[in-house]
């Protein structure tokens, strides 16, 4: 049949020959399969294989097609190369000079494009010499426009841009100044360079490996030339019918990026027939074996035809196409695959049998089929008991169904999955019988946060604020910035410092995401921290709920300003044990420096450093001790040790856990100190509790130890407010009664809400030891799990919980202690009232 067409073509040429025929210079770009050529490696070719994709190959094939078609249309042509060796890759000035010398009217430099990056796209692009809109050689812009109008209409590809961009090379390559493209420089013919498509878009790479596809572009170039010269009339009575054959639904199982219909499988070895309307076959084309599914019928007389497409495993499809003279007609096919056996589940996961270890609650359910399945009937046939809300996804061109629960499966639960017999493949056949299996989930369902900073309603030092989450499993951190957000009071997202973000990695003790805020927060302003439930760990588990915490930015330095210094910490004067180092730090809250403690701690261990007695100020029960700490969210405890050197009495004061990042003023009222006694700071201890999973190592900073006015114990009889009951208080009480002195302490000694002579009597009784003061102290229960609550006739100023080793476990300046986080065991409770401390025994049991 092709011979018939050729004879017709010769006749057509004779008819359409014009008196003066245009002369086209054709420059197939690059050449030689060498360094300045472009090789894209795609299967089955290897790097450097000259049979694989090289831009020089496809450019030359397009050039040949253009040359042949122009000649068939009566044009005069010249080509810069007809072979593909290094010597044929002519120098740029030579090509321009050949174009000038040839007598040509127009010059086409044929190329294809590449992004040069990881991103992909596919569209044609035209470039002429000069600035955009100001071609150096008049008419070059029109040459690009007429070509682009034809190329962009190619439907046997997938364009990611539906227009043909045109640029002047001085605009397109501004870094080159007015040097421009070498083949256009000094080329005084109306000229352009076309980048026909993107050869690093792999579906296009495969198309460019098809000689017929290159022919189509060459043919379309000839139509562009016709349009430029105003010869795109119907005197050339032939055209081309081209298209792509793809599976109607199966997807390419590939890792490279595909757009639009290119995502579906291109059909190899498919046969396409060109038939007249009576069904007589006029020509035949095979799509080949290079994953492009392309066919073309060349030099087809204008008319109406039937195109019959037959895939090797597909139902035949026929379409009718009308081809105009000197036109390209496009006819793509989406062929339906032949499916002639019932569908089966060939495998499933999870695979679990009675006695096996239970599965993670995030385990997806996967069903693999022997056919690509109909998603609607299959999803309707999918049952799980107990019922679970989830989503279906399909992979491998509908050969694989995945069910992923919206939330995790319930913990410690037996599930039964059933695919009912009504599931069908796309050919309409059903499964035949139900398919069922079971699995058991493990006890852990959610990610367990160890600590999140800030906590709800927390205070955060405004400078160098850091948001951090520490959990019991390794987090998937790839999209942390989509999952964790901080908003200001206006609801605007607060910028983070991405370069300084720290993320958990394999081998870490716990999962974490640590996000520094880019700029200082505004002290006094309220903020929000949100953490999405979409944050998952490597097992696919999520947080138990969304986090939405409010916090306030504060200036801790301002809060401690003016407090009296107890001790200026100096890294050189304090000794610290093994596993830790003390250095001077320039990040400080007050003064001119702070000290930095870098440590490693075993569970249950502690590390201390001592201070020099003569360097510290005195502390009494009327004071609060304030230690500015730059925390590391380690949940380790800070304990200060106070010493009455004269009496040899030592008191440990627990300042609490380091459940924060950045500066914070840890405070504790010293009401537990015996009234009238004076203590000095003798040491600071960092203690890791045995169940603390995040405190193994870290770095904290401590600034100068300060003291503030404490919550003064109302010491009964301490009329002058010096913390002790003595004869001086009698004098003071008389002063009050005579109305010539102010009350510094508590003058209502007998508690009758009236200061009178009866209080003098009560004061004398106190001085004479007639009031024991502790007889009424009682605890709420001998065994507790949550709170120890004390009661007494008088005011209770504080409580202290001491373990069997004499170590203070907890303190509270009130009549209760929360023991929820205290290990079970036997403890001593010290209850402080106005004048004395009373001990009681208590058992903590959980």
């Amino acid at each position: 049949m092709k011979k018939i067409f050729l004879a017709l073509v010769s006749a057509a040429v004779a008819i359409t020959a014009h008196a003066v025929m245009p002369h086209v210079y054709i420059n197939p770009g690059h050449g030689g399969h060498d360094a300045d050529d472009r090789n894209v490696v795609v299967y089955p070719f290897v790097q450097g294989d000259t049979a694989g994709f090289w831009e020089s190959n496809s450019n030359l094939k397009k050039g040949f097609a253009l040359n042949n078609m122009l000649k068939a249309k009566g044009y005069t042509t010249s080509m810069s190369r007809v072979r593909n060796t290094t010597n044929d890759d002519l120098k740029l000035a030579t090509i321009a000079a050949l174009s000038n010398s040839s007598g040509a009217d127009i010059f086409y430099s044929i190329h294809s494009n590449a992004t040069g990056t990881e991103s992909r796209c596919n569209y044609p692009l035209g470039i002429y010499r000069g600035y955009s809109g100001q071609p150096v050689v008049a008419g070059s812009d029109r040459l690009a426009e007429t070509l682009g109008a034809v190329l962009i209409k190619n439907e046997a590809t997938y364009w990611t841009l539906n227009r043909y961009p045109i640029y002047g090379d001085w605009t397109f390559y501004p870094q080159w100044g007015t040097q421009g493209l070498g083949v256009l420089r000094g080329n005084n013919v109306v000229s352009m360079l076309d980048e026909g498509s993107f050869h690093d878009y792999i579906p296009e790479t495969y198309r460019l490996l098809n000689d017929n596809y290159c022919w189509l572009e060459g043919w379309n170039f000839s139509r562009g030339a016709d349009s430029y010269f105003g010869r795109d009339d119907d005197t050339f009575g032939y055209g081309a019918i081209a298209g792509l054959l793809r599976d109607s639904r199966m997807l390419r199982n590939v890792s490279y990026e595909c757009f639009g219909d290119d995502k579906r499988l291109s059909l190899n070895n498919a046969v396409v027939l060109l038939q007249d309307l009576d069904g007589n076959t006029l020509d035949e084309c095979n799509t080949g074996e290079l994953y492009n599914g392309f066919y073309v019928f060349k030099m087809v007389p204008a008319g109406t035809y039937r195109i019959v497409a037959r895939g090797p495993e597909h139902y035949e499809q026929t379409k009718e196409v009308t081809l105009g003279p000197n036109q390209s007609a496009y006819c793509n096919f989406d062929l339906m695959r032949v499916r002639n056996t019932p569908p089966e589940v060939v495998s499933h996961s999870p695979q679990w049998h009675e006695g096996d270890a239970p599965l993670k609650c995030s385990t997806p359910i996967v069903l693999n089929f022997n056919w690509d399945m109909d998603p609607v009937s299959t999803q309707q046939a999918f049952l799980i008991d107990p019922p679970v809300q989830g989503k279906f996804t399909w992979e491998d061109s509908y050969y694989r169904l995945i069910f992923t629960p919206n939330d995790a499966f319930e913990a410690d639960t037996r599930y039964t999955v059933t695919l009912k017999a009504t599931a069908q493949h796309n050919g309409g056949m059903s499964l035949g019988e139900d398919y069922s299996f079971e699995f058991q989930t493990e006890a852990r369902k959610y990610i367990e946060p160890y600590v999140i900073f800030p906590h709800d309603n927390d205070r955060v030092h405004y400078k160098n604020a850091v948001v951090e989450l520490r959990v019991d499993s390794m987090l998937v951190t790839g999209y942390y910035y989509d999952r964790i957000h901080v908003y200001n009071a206006a609801g605007e997202e607060v910028a983070i410092n991405k370069r300084s973000v720290k993320l958990n990695k394999k081998g870490d003790d716990y999962g974490y995401i640590r996000i520094p805020i880019a700029s200082a927060l505004t002290a006094g302003e309220r903020y929000r921290l949100t953490i999405s439930k979409e944050l998952v760990d490597t097992a696919g588990l999520r947080l138990p709920q969304e986090i939405d915490y409010a916090f306030t930015a504060v200036d801790v330095a301002q809060e401690v300003e003016g407090l009296e210094t107890v001790l200026v910490l100096d890294a050189k004067e304090h000794l610290v044990g093994d596993g830790a180092t003390l250095t001077t730090a320039t990040d400080y809250l007050c003064g001119a420096k702070s000290i930095q403690l870098k440590y490693n701690l075993e569970p249950g261990a502690e590390i201390s450093f001592t201070t020099l007695a003569e360097s510290t100020g005195e502390l009494t029960c009327n004071d609060a001790i304030v230690v500015p700490v730059n925390g590391d969210l380690s949940l380790n405890r800070i304990i200060v040790t106070l010493c009455d050197y004269a009496a040899g009495d030592v008191v440990n004061v627990d300042l609490g856990r380091i459940d924060f990042n950045g500066w914070r003023d840890l405070r504790a009222d010293l009401t537990m100190l015996p009234a009238g006694k004076r203590y000095m700071l003798s040491g600071i201890t960092l203690s890791r509790e045995s169940d603390n999973k995040v405190g193994a190592s870290g770095t904290i900073k401590l600034d100068d130890v300060l003291k503030a006015e404490g919550t003064k114990p109302q010491v009964n009889g301490d009329v002058n407010g010096d913390g002790v009951v003595s004869g001086a208080d009698v004098t003071a009480l008389y002063g009050v009664l005579l109305d010539n002195a102010t009350v510094a302490g508590n003058a209502d000694v007998n508690g009758d809400t009236n200061v009178s002579g009866a209080d003098v009597t009560a004061l004398y009784n106190l001085l004479l030891g007639n009031d024991s003061g502790n007889a009424s102290v009682k605890l709420s229960a001998g065994t507790v799990s949550e709170y120890i609550v004390a009661s007494a006739d008088g005011l209770i100023h504080g409580m202290e919980l001491i373990d069997a080793n004499g170590k203070t476990v907890k303190r509270n300046a009130g009549n209760f202690i929360n023991v929820e986080d205290v290990p079970a065991g036997h403890y001593t409770v010290v209850v402080y009232t106005a004048v004395t401390a009373t001990t009681r025994q208590v058992t903590v049991a959980h």
């Binding site: 007598g103 127009i106 007015t178």
Partner: protein, 294 residues
């Protein structure tokens, strides 16, 4: 900047020849904009040049440093030729309403400062063949003058080298080339021809078309004297120039000397009477006076 480099290169050649750049001069007086495609007159007193896109043709008098405009037409600068020292032949190119390009051979008389169209504009290739006895203007459709009357002359047509000697014109294809031949020129004494075969580079033949030397993949050969040529040695990445330099070559292929460095982006050399002029990628002209001693 170039002189020290040249001395070094000379020391390395270890040949009998010694190349000395006697002077190096930037030609900028009276020149506005880019100056490209220079062509020295045979006596090296005048210089033709065009813009980077061969639009227009101007002449710089190297003695008076005055510039004369010979043409403003497109294409005039592409292959302008000296016919003696007082006449210039060139071809202009104009696109007509039918989008075809029509070319006109022109002759400019420096004595009268007048330009004359030697033929009506015509479609297709047009060229001027300049011989020692006359000039012929050849067109695809019409010609003026006969090549056999040019004395000794040479030009290229496709992949043919057309040599005329004593009224006898013969066509030669001494090396294979599909794309064609370019830039044919006679040596000053008229006994050798240099040209470029697109795929092979610079070829030197005798007047019978016998290859005397194949000098390498260079472009735009120009005779400095009867023994030496200058050429452009440019490289590219398929889109833009990546380097370009001017080389001095001995016509028998036994000597090569870099007059400029590859990174200098110097190009389009012309030469005559011991003088070399070249342009740069940004259209700056430089003149060298060369002395070659044995």
């Amino acid at each position: 900047m170039i002189l020290p480099l040249l001395s070094g290169c000379c020391a390395l050649t270890a040949m009998a020849q010694h190349v000395t750049v006697v002077s190096q001069t930037r030609l900028s007086d009276g020149i506005e904009g880019e100056a490209c495609y220079p062509r020295l007159s045979p006596d090296a007193t005048k210089l033709l040049f065009s813009d980077a896109d061969t639009r227009g043709l101007r002449m710089l008098d190297l003695n008076s440093h005055t510039v004369t405009t010979l043409s403003e037409e497109p294409g005039a600068g592409f292959d302008a030729r000296w016919a003696g020292n007082d006449r210039v032949c060139f071809v202009t190119a104009r696109r007509a309403d039918d989008h075809l390009i029509y070319r006109t051979p022109m002759s400019y008389d420096l004595a009268t400062h007048s330009a004359q169209a030697m033929l009506e504009p015509q479609h297709g290739a047009v060229s001027a063949v300049v011989g020692n006895r006359g000039t012929a203007f050849l067109g695809a459709h019409k010609s003026r003058g006969r090549v056999k009357d040019t004395g000794t002359s040479v030009y290229t047509k496709g992949s043919q080298l057309i040599i005329t000697r004593d009224g006898v014109t013969t066509a030669h294809s001494p090396v294979e080339s599909y794309a064609g031949y370019l830039w044919a020129s006679l040596s000053p004494n008229g006994d050798k021809v240099a040209f470029v075969a697109a795929e092979s580079g610079v070829i030197v033949t005798d007047l019978n078309g016998n290859v005397l030397a194949s000098l390498g993949h260079y472009e735009m050969p120009a005779w400095l004297d009867n023994e030496y040529l200058v050429v452009q040695n440019a490289t590219d990445d398929g889109h833009q120039f990546t380097s370009s330099q001017i080389l001095l070559l001995k016509a028998d292929g036994t000597f090569s000397h870099a007059l400029t460095a590859p990174s200098s982006m110097t190009m389009q050399p012309t030469a005559a009477a011991g003088t070399v002029v070249y342009s740069t990628i940004d259209g700056k002209l430089t003149m060298l006076k060369i002395q070659i001693t044995q």
